[in-house]
Each structure stands twice: as structure tokens, then as C-alpha cells.
């Protein structure tokens, strides 16, 4: 097999060796249940608390405000359902955006069936919400605003500080799905007035199957998973100790030299975008030109369909992703691309390349070269390209 060029770091990342090394003893040497009182158990407990502390420090929270979950989706579900059910007496209205991850959108859909009202804010062509529309949407019934920190498809970063300010002024809980942000950009929950925040370790070189929900002290929220007294009675189930340990180590590593890492990623990102624009016509960059994740490139190639692009890239050993309907098993292309106003036929031809710590300049150049060939080949096959040429 060819060497893999992995440019799908927004989907998941490899667990770093240092992270894995940290985890390993907790599988079969320090395997005690943290709830047990003997030494083997309290070693596990200590390891869990050290990780909690590391995560809390990173986002300027208190350790007792961090609760481990099985991942980003569970954290999203918990924040939304937990606040909705616990605050039903105060109101039944939730505000979110049209371009949230399914973990938020589908949970909102479920809550609508339970009698809650949900406002889905529009976004502009770059994927940014409209703060005026947010303010206008707030009613006496509004109990929760949930706006993602950074979009998983197009990388756009939302004006979180302003959302936090508005939520605080109106005394409404503010949750942010920061699954794409944590580990990649600096987040301070106090400065940004965030009440709840979701994260997932596998997006920042930690293991899959572990995440966390930050819950500001005082927030009224029901548990989602009920049982034993773990996580101070708020999230039951034997702790995934190796996962928790890995998450703590991964977040520490992620924020070491973050600025340097991001400078490098932005350089690679811009080189990739420039390479594509210089070599291929009829392309457009999706997402905000500057307010975007350092590692995110999302481009539409007109006249071709995303899945065939991905398969062709895969044959060259390049891993990317697409907002194409054909990769998702639905008929509708990505709600995010439609949300920023792309017509269906163009949304079908999108490609997301999300860079990571292991990508190199050579890889970027190789991808540009291969993409140029592949796009040309697929367009030569496309009846739409032919028509477009005729029109010109």
C-alpha cells in the first residue's frame, strides 16, 4: 500500500504515542475501579482527577466543573436534554443554529417532539450567525442558547464572546459544542461566558470513546446516564480510566506550543488553498476566509460529485472527506453547505481537507498535484462540465 496522506483530522486523529504510553498501564497494571477503596482503586481515582484538573486548567474552569462522557455526542445530548428537562418550569425555548453538528440538531429535533420550541438561526455566506437575529429570537421562554464554537465542515469560528455576553445579559444558559475547537484554539470559559462546553478527545490526538462536558457550577441540569455515584452523581458508569488518562495527556500536549503549531497549519492551509486555486478553475472556498480553524480547507469543485473525488483520492493514498450526500447515505448534501447558501449541485462537489500535526509541505504539494489530475479526469466524464463549456 502507498504511504497514507491523512487529511481528515477533523473526522478523527491518531492517538499520539505519548498519549498511548500514558494510557497503557491503566489497562492491565493500574486497572482498579476508581470507586474501590483499596490502593489499586485509589491510584485510578488519582489518575482520573489529574486528568480532570488538566482539562479544567486548559479552559480556565474548576476541576469540579468537568464531567467525563463517552464523547462529543453524549456531551451534546446531555447539555441539551439535561438543561431542557431540568428547566422546563422556566421555559421551553431553545436557540441554536442551522449549521450545528447532528449531535445538536437531531437532539433539538427530538426535544421539539417533546414539546420544546427550537429556533434555528440562519448563517451568512461564510457560516457566521447573525447576532441581531439571535437577540431578536430571545423570548421570556428561552432557557438555552447552543451555538457551536467552530464548524466541523467549513471551519468557521462563531462570535462566541458576543453570544456569551448576550446570554449572560439575558440570564440564559449558553452551551457551545466545542468539539472542533478544543485542542486547536485557546478557549477560556470565563472570558467567553460559557456555561457548558462539549469536547471529544479523539479530535485532538486522544483516544476515541472519551469526551467531557464542562458544566459551570450552579447550572441546573439533569443527568443523562443514571446509576452509580460516579462523576459526583451526575454521570454514572464505571469510569473509562485509560480513556480519561489519555484525554488529559492529549489536551496537555495539544496546548503546548499551540501558536507555533497553528502558524505551521495556517501556512500549510494557505499553501493548499493557493495550490488548488492556481491549478484548478471553477472552485470556491467554503467558510470564512480568516475566522476559521487553522487546519480546515473546504472547497467546492463544480461539475463533479464529492464521493467520486474521495474515492479517487483514496486510490492515491489521500484521505479526505466531503459534504456530499453520497458519502452520508442520504440524498440531501450537507446541511452546512446548504446553510451557507450553496445550490445543491455545487454542494455535492465539496471536499474537506483537514490538516494535522503530521502533515508536511510535501504532502500538501502532492495533494494539489493529484487533485488537479483527478478533477480533470472526473470533469472529462461529467456532462455538466461539457454543458458549462458550451454555454461559455
Amino acid at each position: 500500500m502507498k504511504k497514507l496522506i491523512y487529511m481528515d483530522n477533523a473526522a478523527t486523529t491518531p492517538t499520539k504515542q505519548e498519549v498511548l504510553d500514558e494510557m497503557l498501564p491503566y489497562f492491565n497494571v493500574r486497572y482498579g475501579n476508581p470507586s474501590s477503596i483499596y490502593s489499586l482503586g485509589s491510584h485510578s481515582r488519582t489518575a482520573v482527577e489529574i486528568s480532570r484538573e488538566a482539562i479544567a486548567n486548559t479552559i480556565n474552569a474548576k476541576a469540579r466543573e468537568i464531567f467525563f462522557t463517552a464523547g462529543g455526542t453524549e456531551a451534546d445530548n446531555w447539555a441539551l436534554k439535561g438543561v431542557a428537562y431540568a428547566n422546563r418550569d422556566k421555559g421551553n425555548h431553545i436557540i441554536t443554529s442551522k449549521i450545528e453538528h447532528q449531535g445538536i440538531l437531531h437532539t433539538c429535533g427530538y426535544l421539539e417532539k417533546q414539546g420544546f420550541k427550537v429556533t434555528y438561526l440562519d448563517v451568512d455566506e461564510y457560516g457566521v450567525i447573525d447576532l441581531e437575529q439571535l437577540e431578536e429570537s430571545i423570548t421570556d421562554e428561552t432557557i438555552l442558547i447552543s451555538i457551536m464554537f467552530a464548524n466541523n465542515e467549513i471551519g468557521t469560528i462563531q462570535p462566541i464572546k458576543e453570544v456569551g455576553r448576550i446570554a449572560k445579559e439575558k440570564n440564559i444558559y449558553f452551551h457551545t459544542d466545542a468539539v472542533q475547537a478544543i485542542g486547536h484554539i485557546k478557549v477560556d470559559v470565563d472570558e467567553l461566558n460559557i456555561d457548558m462546553l462539549s469536547m471529544a478527545a479523539h479530535k485532538f490526538y486522544g483516544p476515541k470513546g472519551i469526551g467531557a462536558l464542562y458544566i459551570r457550577q450552579g447550572v441546573k441540569i439533569d443527568p443523562l446516564i443514571i446509576g452509580g455515584g460516579q462523576e459526583r452523581n451526575r454521570r454514572a458508569g464505571t469510569e473509562n480510566v485509560p480513556g480519561i488518562v489519555g484525554m488529559g495527556k492529549a489536551i496537555e500536549l495539544a496546548y503546548e506550543d499551540l501558536n507555533e503549531k497553528n502558524k505551521r497549519l495556517i501556512y500549510l492551509r494557505e499553501r493548499l488553498v493557493k495550490g488548488i486555486f492556481d491549478n484548478i478553475d471553477h472552485v470556491r472556498l467554503n467558510g470564512h476566509p480568516t475566522k476559521r480553524l487553522p487546519n480546515n480547507v473546504n472547497i467546492c469543485f463544480e461539475f463533479i460529485e464529492g464521493e467520486s473525488l474521495l474515492l479517487s483520492l483514496d486510490m492515491e493514498g489521500i484521505a479526505g472527506s466531503s459534504g456530499s450526500a453520497c458519502t452520508s447515505g442520504t440524498l440531501e448534501p450537507s446541511h452546512v453547505l446548504l446553510g451557507i447558501g450553496l445550490p445543491h449541485e455545487i454542494a455535492h462537489g465539496s471536499l474537506r481537507l483537514s490538516l494535522g500535526d503530521y502533515n508536511t509541505e510535501d504532502e500538501v504539494d502532492y495533494v494539489v498535484e493529484k487533485l488537479t489530475d483527478i478533477v480533470a479526469r472526473l470533469r472529462a466524464m461529467s456532462p455538466l462540465y461539457e454543458q458549462a463549456k458550451e454555454v461559455r
Partner: protein
């Protein structure tokens, strides 16, 4: 996800292109849905002597187009009419359930091109009486 046959046809599709003086041209699908197939037939003495296609679509759409052209090339119109979407999928060693509509599209593209031929040449083709090329392939899977 895909069989090796699908991947092979996707990567080396047969009969890509156009036929300048085609006897029948059919186009089905919808760019909104992410797939369009256009098929060109050259027909002599009721026999499909040449066939080309152009497709905008996913891997299985391209592979289905390619396989469909292979299946009808050199066949009589009647034989071509008997090629069902299932035959296309089977020849590809199967398609994932959510991709079966691509094979439907391929069947429709053939029929659509034959319909065009029958109209242009005033010949009747058995089985095309109720064929509606605008019917949505996505309902078939």
C-alpha cells in the same frame, strides 16, 4: 463498502465520452440529487454497435454507467431492453443498498436513449410504452 468490481469500473470506466452522430441520446438524473447520466447510442440494424456515456455522480453511479454500457454493447435493442437495474448491480458484484438507485439510473439512461432513438426513427420498441425518463430513481431503492 464497494466491491472490487465497482472500484475497478469506477477507476477504469469503459466507454466514457460522446458519440457525435449518435442515433439516440438519453439523459436522466438531476444535479440537485447529485447524479446525471447521459448515454449515447449508435444503432445499426437493431444492434447497438457503439455506446458512450458521461456521468456526474458518485463512484457507483460512474461504475453503473460503465457496466451498463458494457452490458448493452453489441446487443440487440430487445436484449438491451431486458437489462434491468438488478442485472447491472449483479454484474458489479452488488451495490450497497443505499446505492441501488445508481443502477436504476443506469437502466433508465439506456431506456431513455432508446426512447430517443425510437422517436427519431419512428420505430416502435416493445416495453417503452410506459417508460417515463423523468421518474425519480431515488424512489426505487
Amino acid at each position: 463498502m464497494y466491491s472490487e468490481k465497482v472500484m475497478e469500473h469506477f477507476h477504469n470506466p469503459r466507454n466514457v465520452g460522446e458519440i457525435e452522430d449518435a442515433d439516440g441520446i438519453g439523459e436522466v438524473g438531476n444535479p440537485r440529487c447529485g447524479d446525471i447520466m447521459k448515454m449515447y447510442l449508435k444503432i445499426e440494424d437493431d444492434i447497438i454497435v457503439d455506446v458512450k456515456f458521461k456521468t456526474f455522480g458518485c463512484g457507483s453511479a460512474i461504475a453503473s454507467s460503465s457496466m451498463a454500457t458494457e452490458l448493452i454493447k453489441g446487443k440487440t435493442i430487445e436484449e438491451a431492453m431486458n437489462i434491468t437495474n438488478k442485472a447491472v448491480a449483479k454484474a458489479l458484484d452488488g451495490l450497497p443498498p443505499i446505492k441501488m438507485h445508481c443502477s436504476v439510473l443506469a437502466e433508465q439512461a439506456i431506456k431513455s436513449a432508446l426512447l430517443d432513438y425510437s422517436k427519431k426513427n419512428g420505430v416502435h420498441i416493445e416495453g417503452l410504452e410506459n417508460f417515463d425518463p423523468t421518474e425519480d430513481a431515488h424512489d426505487h431503492h
